[in-house]
């Protein structure tokens, strides 16, 4: 964890390399302290910004909290009638996030493993650049492309799945009432999955790549197949990093605004029908903020606060997960 204290330069047997100096004050002390404070200040900046965001948004959202109380969780968003419950949007945010993770995480891990373990060395850079291309595409383009090209075929697919599973007790209820336009939780979740894949892939790839070679060779030395080596050496080493990457991906998923706004169908009712329309916190803010006044405006800002709290909750969950595994290397235990 902490660094071993550097030796005093006067006791160094070899001539001191350039930069270590021969003055009476240990060289680099000032730089060290200065740098430390600069780095600390940068870290504190995060605190300051987040604190400011939390403060200004809560202040502007206060009329909503005061007017609704616990009603903010109710499933009754109806501004003309003075009802501002965000239940449907909270539910939608979770649902889209889960769908996105379920689709994206296995694929991202797979690509990460592909790049570091399976693919021939020469192909690594091109593959990395290709996956990066996915990240280079702006979210609005994803949304517009899906709207132009995917929603039609998806509507047909949802229809077929829905009729095929209509009899089955639990699944049939979930797949019922597909949207004729394809705008749904599922479509939004699918596109978000595509969007967060390059992030999760890129980070897990880096983590996988730093698996210590001796660890891998030890596994092979014991006769493991490549898959067994991955399970035995790479995964345990990478657990913390993978969870961290997934958390960043999830953060992006629940915060994704424009693409979801275009694809989710904007229906503010809680519904189990994943092939039907819904709404999320971020997308309703984008859709309704410009025309909103009064309590509706406070409510929309308040939903931003709810999103912050949601992310905190998810973060706590993830942290408890990560703390169970040691970080095998580096300065942090």
């Amino acid at each position: 964890m902490a660094a071993i204290a550097p030796p005093r330069e006067n006791e160094s047997p070899a001539p001191a390399p350039k930069g270590l100096g021969t003055g009476s004050r240990p060289p680099g002390v000032f730089t060290d302290h200065l740098f430390r404070w600069i780095a600390l200040a940068s870290g504190l900046l995060v605190l300051a910004i987040l604190g400011l965001i939390a403060y200004t948004t809560t202040k502007n959202a206060w009329p909503w909290f005061r007017a609704e109380g616990f009603g903010i969780f109710a499933d009754n968003w109806d501004p003309p009638k003075g009802q501002y419950g965000a239940g449907a949007m909270i539910y939608g945010t979770f649902l889209v996030g889960i769908i996105a993770l379920v689709i994206s995480v296995p694929i991202s891990l797979g690509i990460g493993l592909f790049v570091t373990e399976v693919a021939p060395r020469r192909l690594r850079k091109p593959i990395v650049y290709t996956v990066d291309l996915l990240a280079a595409i702006p979210s609005v383009v994803y949304g517009l492309w899906a709207l132009a090209v995917l929603t039609g075929p998806l509507a047909d697919i949802y229809d077929s799945i829905s009729s095929a599973t209509s009899g089955i007790p639990l699944i049939g209820d979930i797949t019922a009432e597909p949207s004729p336009t394809g705008l749904s939780y599922m479509t939004a979740g699918l596109i978000v999955a595509i969007m967060i894949t390059p992030i999760i892939t890129s980070l897990t790839r880096e983590v996988f790549a730093t698996t210590p070679q001796p660890l891998k060779e030890a596994a092979y030395g014991m006769g493991a197949t490549r898959w067994e080596m991955i399970r035995g050496s790479v995964f345990p080493h990478s657990r913390g990093g993978v969870v961290s990457a997934v958390m960043i991906g999830l953060g992006r998923a629940i915060g994704e605004t424009i693409a979801v706004a275009l694809l989710i169908g904007s229906s503010q009712h809680i519904s189990a029908h994943i092939f039907g329309p819904g709404d999320t916190l971020a997308s309703i803010i984008a859709n309704q903020f410009n025309e909103a006044t009064g309590i509706q405006r406070a409510a929309l800002i308040g939903m931003g606060v709810v999103l912050l709290v949601l992310t905190v909750g998810v973060g706590i969950l993830a942290r408890s997960f990560v703390n169970r595994y040691d970080r095998k290397s580096g300065a942090v235990a």
């Binding site: 968003w77 109806d78 501004p79 003309p80 009638k81 009802q83 709207l147 039609g152 009432e177 949207s179 004729p180 336009t181 705008l183 706004a261 275009l262 169908g265 904007s266 229906s267 503010q268 009712h269 519904s271 039907g276 329309p277 984008a286 859709n287 309704q288 903020f289 410009n290 025309e291 909103a292 006044t293 009064g294 509706q296």
Partner: protein, 352 residues
């Protein structure tokens, strides 16, 4: 020493003369002949008037080369709020300030610019629909679910209506178009329309939401049996079929520039030039007609900006009105135009 004194005197004289000149030109019938000093006018608000504003700004630029006008269509609500906060020099809005909204801190004016109809567009082959307000209300609130319903038959006795189910399409983003459409339903069919009126309403589940007029238009176009409400200009661009709507006089009126102007004519105009053409009286009035205004403060403290705003408004009321029809907006009726022109003269521009 002496030269700079003379120069300073000259500047003072010019400074005193300029506002006189500008106010003078503002009052004349040809206000755009004087070349204005460099100024940038930033405005935002209603997306309904965005198309019109773009054409006017584009034509205004060669006339006053030193003036740059930027207009962002981010919604009437945003426009009204930004105007109150002083973030913009002028704002566009489809609705006046509500008493519960934060009000502008200084005296300001509503300047009406154009009107246009909101169409009820649908996707049914070979059917020319006539719809009463009551039927529309029932369709959009989910009470009527298929096209061969009795109520639709009553409105269209001679049409051949299929048994297709109706797919209702509405706006997912909040919009003045939704506000005006639901305002019409609340006024004209209060017993059948219970969802209230506003830039967003709680549409029943099973309806489809799309982003923007173009989103609604595309969904209606692509889905058999769909029906939705779309601004006239965008509906025409998307090649949609629209219904004739029954007005307060009992006649079925199709949406076009003439019937929109008829609605504006039939509405009562308040002294501040706000008016409500929704469900207006008038034999030829189309009942779902949308008004729109530009908001400007009465006292312009920046001389260059003030002069530019005055010039811009006068341009809207001269050449602008003639440009309107070319992009499917209806110019103001003559009486309203006269009142608007008179109101421009009430703007006071500070000396530079």
């Amino acid at each position: 020493m002496q030269r700079s004194f003379v120069r300073r005197c000259g500047l003072v004289v010019a400074a005193l003369a300029l506002p006189v000149l500008l106010i003078g030109t503002g009052a004349s019938a040809a206000p755009n002949t004087g070349k204005l000093a460099s100024a940038t006018l930033n405005g935002d608000g209603s997306t309904f008037q965005l198309g019109f504003n773009q054409v006017v700004i584009g034509s205004f630029k060669p006339v006053q080369k030193a003036v740059t006008v930027n207009y962002q269509g981010n919604g009437s609500g945003a426009g009204r709020t930004d105007f109150v906060n002083g973030v913009v020099d002028f704002a566009g809005t489809d609705a006046p300030y509500k008493s519960t909204d934060p009000q502008p801190p200084k005296p300001f004016f509503y300047f009406p610019t154009v009107v246009a109809p909101i169409t009820v567009s649908y996707n049914l082959s070979d059917v020319k629909l006539k719809l009463s307000a009551d039927t529309i209300a029932k369709i959009f609130s989910g009470a009527i679910t298929s096209w061969n319903d009795a109520a639709i038959k009553t409105d269209n006795p001679r049409a051949k209506l299929p048994s297709t189910s109706i797919t209702v399409v509405h706006r997912s983003d909040s919009s003045g178009t939704t506000a005006n459409f639901t305002s019409f339903l609340t006024k004209a069919a209060p017993s059948s329309w219970t969802l209230g009126s506003g830039s967003t309403v709680s549409w029943p589940s099973g309806t489809q939401g799309a982003t923007g007029n173009s989103g609604v238009a595309k969904l209606v176009k692509d889905t058999d049996g769909a029906i939705g409400y779309v601004d006239f200009s965008d509906a025409k661009a998307s090649d949609l079929t629209f219904a004739a709507v029954k007005n307060s006089g009992g006649k079925f009126i199709p949406p076009n520039l003439g019937s929109a102007a008829g609605a504006a004519q039939g509405a009562t105009v308040n002294p501040d030039l706000t008016y409500d053409p929704i469900n207006a009286t008038g034999a030829a009035a189309y009942p779902i007609t949308s008004p729109t205004w530009i908001l400007v403060y009465q006292d312009q403290s920046d001389a260059n900006k003030g002069a530019a705003i005055v010039s811009f408004l006068n341009y809207i009321y001269d050449q602008g009105q003639q440009l309107a029809t070319s992009i499917d907006y209806s110019p103001l009726p003559k009486s309203l135009l006269k009142q608007a022109r008179a109101q421009v003269k009430k703007i006071t521009v500070a000396a530079s």
